[in-house]
C-alpha cells in the first residue's frame, strides 16, 4: 500500500528534511521497518534497545492511535496517513480543520485543488455538502505554518468564508 508518513519536526532532519514521506507497507509495522531501513538515523529515535516503539512516541493511522487498533499489526489502505507524534503534554495533536463556505460564483471552481497546487499544503476532505448554488466543505489542512496561513489568506481573498472547526482532542 502507498501511504503517507508524517514526520515530527524534531526528527525531520533524519528523514531527509521531509515533513511527509511516501512509504509502502501492508501494516504499520512494515511501514516502520521500511522507514528505519531507508532512514537509519530514525531507528534508535523511534525504537528502544528491545526494538519496541518508544513509550513517548505515539503512532496514529488517520487520527486513531494504533494502540486502539492492532498496534504494529494495524492493516493499511491505499492513501492512509500515518502520523508519528512525540507524546509531549498529553500525546494527541490537533490537525488544522476549517469549514469553507463557497459563494455561488465559486461552486464550480476547483478551489481545493488550487490551494494544494499553489501552496505546500495537503488537504483532506472530512465532510461536504455541495449543490448547484451553495456549498460547504470541512477540510483538514496539513503543512508548515507559513504555507497554511498563505492558503487561508488566499481563500479569504477569493471570497470563500473560512471558519476554524472546534475539535476535541479525544473524539
Amino acid at each position: 500500500m502507498e501511504v503517507r508518513v508524517r514526520i515530527p519536526t524534531p526528527l525531520k532532519k533524519l528523514a531527509g528534511e521531509q515533513d511527509i514521506v511516501q512509504a509502502k507497507g501492508k501494516t504499520v509495522g512494515e511501514v516502520l521497518q521500511w522507514l528505519t531501513e531507508t532512514y537509519p538515523g530514525l531507528q534508535e529515535r523511534l525504537r528502544d534497545e528491545r526494538g519496541e516503539v518508544r513509550r513517548f512516541i505515539n503512532i496514529y493511522v488517520n487520527d486513531e492511535d494504533i494502540r486502539f487498533i492492532q498496534n504494529l499489526e494495524t492493516p493499511l489502505k491505499e492513501g492512509d496517513q500515518i502520523s508519528i507524534i512525540p507524546a509531549i503534554a498529553g500525546g494527541a495533536f490537533s490537525k488544522r480543520r476549517v469549514t469553507l463556505t463557497f459563494p455561488p460564483n465559486l461552486i464550480k471552481e476547483p478551489v481545493i485543488y488550487n490551494i494544494g497546487h499553489r501552496f505546500k499544503v495537503v488537504t483532506n476532505i472530512r465532510g461536504a455538502n455541495v449543490s448547484e448554488n451553495m456549498g460547504w466543505v470541512t477540510l483538514e489542512i496539513d503543512g508548515e505554518e507559513e504555507e497554511y496561513s498563505k492558503a487561508l489568506s488566499y481563500l479569504k481573498e477569493i471570497g470563500v468564508k473560512v471558519e476554524p472547526v472546534e475539535r476535541n482532542v479525544i473524539e
Binding site: P10, R45, D48, R54, R55, F56, I57, R67, F68, P86, A87, I88, A89, G90, G91, A92, F93, S94, E166, N168, V169, I170
Partner: protein, 421 residues
C-alpha cells in the same frame, strides 16, 4: 549549596544540565532531577530537620534549588491527624489523615509544588510564570506569584467552579478560560510555552515543580515518628503526586532517615475519569485516554502525563487502585466531615470512598496502619454538595416555634460552679 547532579531522562537515561526543560531531546521521555544522595546522607539528619522551622523547606537538601527558597517559605508542615472517628466508621484499627486542605496559602497540596517551581523560576531569571490548571494549581500559582512579585498567566477550562475562578482572580493573575477540556488547555499551553518563553510550572519547569510533592511524603514519615504507614491512599489526576510520595519515602530510606519502606501505595480516581485505575484493573501498561465526566473536576485529566509512572508506583509497592461514582464521592466528603470535622473537596471525597471500597474488598487489611491523603479544601468545590447536605430549618423568632420542631428535653447534667461568697 546544591545537592543536585542534573536532569536525567526517565526512559533512556540521557543526562542534561539543570535548565528549564522537561522533555528528552532524544526519546521524548520526561526528565527528572537527580540528587547526590551520598552527600545528602551526610548533610541531612533527623536532628537537623527537627531544628528547622515547621515548613516543607526543612527538607531543603532534597529539593532542587541552589539557594534559599524565595517563594512559599511558609508552605507545608500541615497537620497529620489520628482519625479515631473515621477509623471506627470504616471498621479499621489505625487510621491517619494528612491534611493539606489547610495548606498555606491556598488550601491545597499544590502550594508545595508551586513553591518549588517559582523559587526555581526566580533562580533561572524568569519574571513571568504560567500554568494549565484544573483549579487548585491556578489558585496557588496566582497567589504565590503575586507574593513573589512575578506576573502570572493561568489557563483553565472555562467551566471551572466559581470558587476556583474567583480564588485565582483575586490575586491579580491573568486568568484565561479555554473552551475545552483540561487536556486541550494543556496542549495549548505547550504551544504557548514554546512561543512566549514563560516559566510554565507544569510544563517547562515540571521536573523541579514535581519534586515539591515529595515533601507530602517526607512530612508523613516525620510526623509519624520517623516511620511510614503500611497503606497510603492517594488521589490521581496527572499521576505525579502518587509517584512522588513513594519517591519521598524511598529517599528517606536511601539516606538512612527511616528503616525499610514496606508501604503499599493505592491510587484513587473517579469512575467518570479513571484512565489509570482502568489500566491497573486490566493489567495494562499503557493508559487509554478518556473524556472526563465527573464532579471531581480537580481529577478530570483524561490523558495523565505521569499515568505510566503512577501505575508503576502502585505495582512496585504492591498496592492497588479503585474508582468511585459521583454519589460515592459526595458520601465520602460527608463521612469525613461528620466523623473528623474536615471539609475536603471532591478529590478528598474520592480518596475517602476509595479507601472504604478497598477495605471492604479486603485489599487493605483492617488491622494495618492506613493513611488517607487529603489534598484540597471543600470550600473550593461547594457546588458539588449543593442539595446534598440538607437545608436549614427556618422558623420565626419564637420559643414556641422552636419547641414545635425540637420538643423540650431533660436538662443535661453539667458542673455547677458556686459563686464565691
Amino acid at each position: 549549596m546544591s545537592h543536585i547532579l542534573g536532569l536525567k531522562c526517565r526512559e533512556c537515561k540521557r543526562e542534561y544540565p539543570i535548565s528549564p526543560i522537561h522533555v528528552c531531546e532524544f526519546c521524548f521521555g520526561p526528565l527528572e532531577v537527580v540528587y547526590q544522595y551520598e552527600k545528602i546522607r551526610k548533610d541531612l539528619t533527623r536532628q537537623k530537620i527537627e531544628g528547622r522551622p515547621k515548613s516543607m523547606w526543612r527538607y531543603r537538601e532534597l529539593l532542587p534549588i541552589d539557594h534559599e527558597p524565595t517563594i512559599g517559605v511558609n508552605v507545608g508542615f500541615t497537620p497529620l491527624i489520628k482519625a479515631e472517628g473515621l477509623a471506627k466508621a470504616l471498621g479499621v484499627k489505625e487510621l491517619y489523615l494528612k491534611n493539606d486542605a489547610v495548606n498555606y496559602p491556598t488550601l491545597s497540596f499544590k502550594d508545595r509544588v508551586v513553591s518549588v517551581a517559582l523559587s526555581k523560576a526566580k533562580e533561572f531569571g524568569f519574571r513571568t510564570v504560567a500554568c494549565a490548571s484544573t483549579g487548585n494549581l491556578a489558585n496557588s500559582v496566582a497567589a504565590l506569584a503575586s507574593a513573589g512579585g512575578l506576573e502570572s498567566f493561568v489557563f483553565v477550562p472555562f467551566d471551572l467552579e466559581q470558587g476556583k475562578i474567583l480564588g485565582t482572580l483575586i490575586y491579580g493573575a491573568n486568568l484565561i478560560g479555554i473552551r475545552g477540556s483540561y487536556d486541550e488547555v494543556n496542549r495549548l499551553c505547550s504551544e504557548i510555552a514554546e512561543n512566549y518563553g514563560w516559566a510554565f510550572v507544569n510544563i517547562n519547569i515540571r521536573p523541579f515543580y514535581a519534586e515539591g510533592s515529595k515533601t507530602f511524603g517526607f512530612e508523613i514519615a516525620e510526623q509519624l515518628g520517623w516511620k511510614v504507614p503500611q497503606h497510603v491512599i492517594v488521589p490521581m489526576a496527572g499521576g505525579s503526586l502518587i509517584t512522588k510520595i513513594w519517591k519521598g519515602f524511598k529517599e528517606f530510606e536511601t539516606i538512612g532517615l527511616i528503616k525499610e519502606v514496606n508501604t503499599k501505595i493505592h491510587g484513587a480516581q473517579a469512575s467518570g475519569c479513571n484512565p489509570i485505575v482502568a489500566a491497573f484493573k486490566e493489567g495494562q501498561e499503557w493508559i487509554k485516554p478518556q473524556k472526563p465526566q465527573t464532579i471531581a473536576k480537580s481529577l478530570a485529566i483524561g490523558n495523565p502525563a505521569d499515568g505510566f509512572y503512577a501505575l508503576k508506583t502502585i505495582r512496585d509497592s504492591g498496592g492497588s487502585a479503585e474508582d468511585v461514582s459521583d454519589s460515592e464521592i459526595i458520601e465520602g466528603m460527608k463521612l469525613l466531615a461528620r466523623t473528623e470535622g474536615i471539609f475536603t473537596e471532591t478529590a478528598g471525597g474520592v480518596t475517602v470512598s476509595v479507601t472504604k471500597k478497598l477495605i471492604d474488598q479486603g485489599a487493605i487489611p483492617r488491622g494495618e496502619s492506613i493513611l488517607i491523603c487529603v489534598t484540597g479544601n471543600g470550600l473550593k468545590t461547594q457546588e458539588a454538595i449543593q442539595d446534598r447536605v440538607g437545608r436549614p430549618v427556618i422558623i420565626d423568632a419564637k420559643l414556641s416555634d422552636f419547641q414545635k420542631i425540637i420538643p423540650s428535653r431533660e436538662r443535661e447534667n453539667v458542673i455547677q460552679i458556686q459563686a464565691a461568697v
